[in-house]
Symmetry: C2
Subunit: 221 residues, 2 copies
């Protein structure tokens, strides 16, 4: 069974928005405002062209000017541009973006990449939240993931969505936080699988060691 829809490569990052500003991520406030930033802040490690609001969000929480932030600082930094994410999502973001050599912190480069990635997820979320309720249901989640190249089987969709079932019997709906978490899980695990299935046969040979090492990092959150 193919695990990617035909129109996209799984290795591609989430597709840029096809509407709105034309940017691959939402326009932060003051986007067209003053652009003095960069090395003058002592944060020359940000990629050139990083929006000043992104740098400002990082600086705001990096109180000791160490150039690195931990998970609760990341949670606060993202609140200024996005929203307060659950620690579960924050930990998953940390794990996926941090430099493998810096065990529990992220620096300017990783922060900029993470911020931009979240912008892409938000664009996708808004595209599939058709009634602008701030929530999407399981079919919309399926369509959203499909649109960026992940054709997840119904059984997988079901276990994925069941994580957010509060047991009330109501239809499960995901807010942006949960949507990002789902997206990161599907993208991260699929890419791990793909490494072991480079020819897209839909099947991979895994040793026990590989299997365990692939998965356990996803349990951080």
């Amino acid at each position: 069974m193919a695990y990617h829809s035909r129109s996209h490569k799984a290795s591609a990052p989430p597709a840029p928005a096809q509407h709105g500003s034309g940017l691959p991520y939402p326009v932060p406030p003051n986007y067209y405002g003053p652009t003095s930033y960069g090395s003058s802040h002592g944060y020359s490690d940000f990629p050139s062209g990083t929006h000043p609001d992104v740098i400002r969000s990082f600086q705001m929480v990096d109180m000791d000017r160490s150039g690195f932030i931990d998970e609760s600082e990341l949670q606060r930094a993202l609140s200024s541009g996005y929203q307060r994410f659950s620690l579960r999502t924050i930990r998953l973001l940390m794990f996926l973006f941090k430099n493998p050599n810096d065990s529990l912190k992220i620096g300017p480069k990783e922060f900029a990449a993470l911020w931009s990635c979240l912008g892409q997820w938000r664009t996708i979320f808004e595209r599939f939240d058709r009634d602008r309720s701030g929530k999407i249901d399981s079919m919309e989640l399926r369509d959203a993931l499909y649109s960026i190249g992940y054709a997840i089987p119904p059984s997988v969709l079901q276990v994925l969505i069941s994580r957010y079932d509060d047991g009330s019997g109501r239809r499960v709906e995901l807010n942006f936080d949960s949507f990002v978490e789902c997206g990161l899980i599907v993208k991260g695990l699929t890419e791990k699988f793909k490494e072991k299935d480079p020819r897209y046969t839909g099947t991979a040979m895994l040793t026990y060691d590989t299997f365990m090492s692939m998965i356990i990092p996803f349990l951080v959150s």
Copy 2:
């Protein structure tokens, strides 16, 4: 690479204690006390021979007498006999013990099994916490898992233990809560893998669908 030590079958439950009371789980308070319990409490669904303290712990939190408890009730129920577990461990326990048909609750039978399983983990923990500090380090974790049949590779041990690294540079030590979580993850994932490697070759062929469905449930916690 073999993923089980030679002396145990992976399908076997944690080995009974080789010392102490001789029971496979710790003796709850009042074990030799009055034994009137069972159907007289309206909880006839407990397996016969269930210790009255186990039934009492369940009853204490099942306020509406529905015969089912949710995750926060489980957390409280276990506090009376063990300790207050993190919600992360509680969710993993729920997932591993709940009846697949009752989405987010567990009943008397599952509760009794879970209680007894925790007793087995506690016996193992105490055996490897040689200095009685209430904590074990990574080598003791490795030895503890090995003693019940799981020979986890060093790379897996490392990712597993890194979940509890607080970034302070100090040696990582696990309390009982984290130990149970580690144990459940290793046992659960290894058993999933074994289902796909029934001849113990150390390698399994997995489809994408199977791979994803095997793992996502472990991300509940």
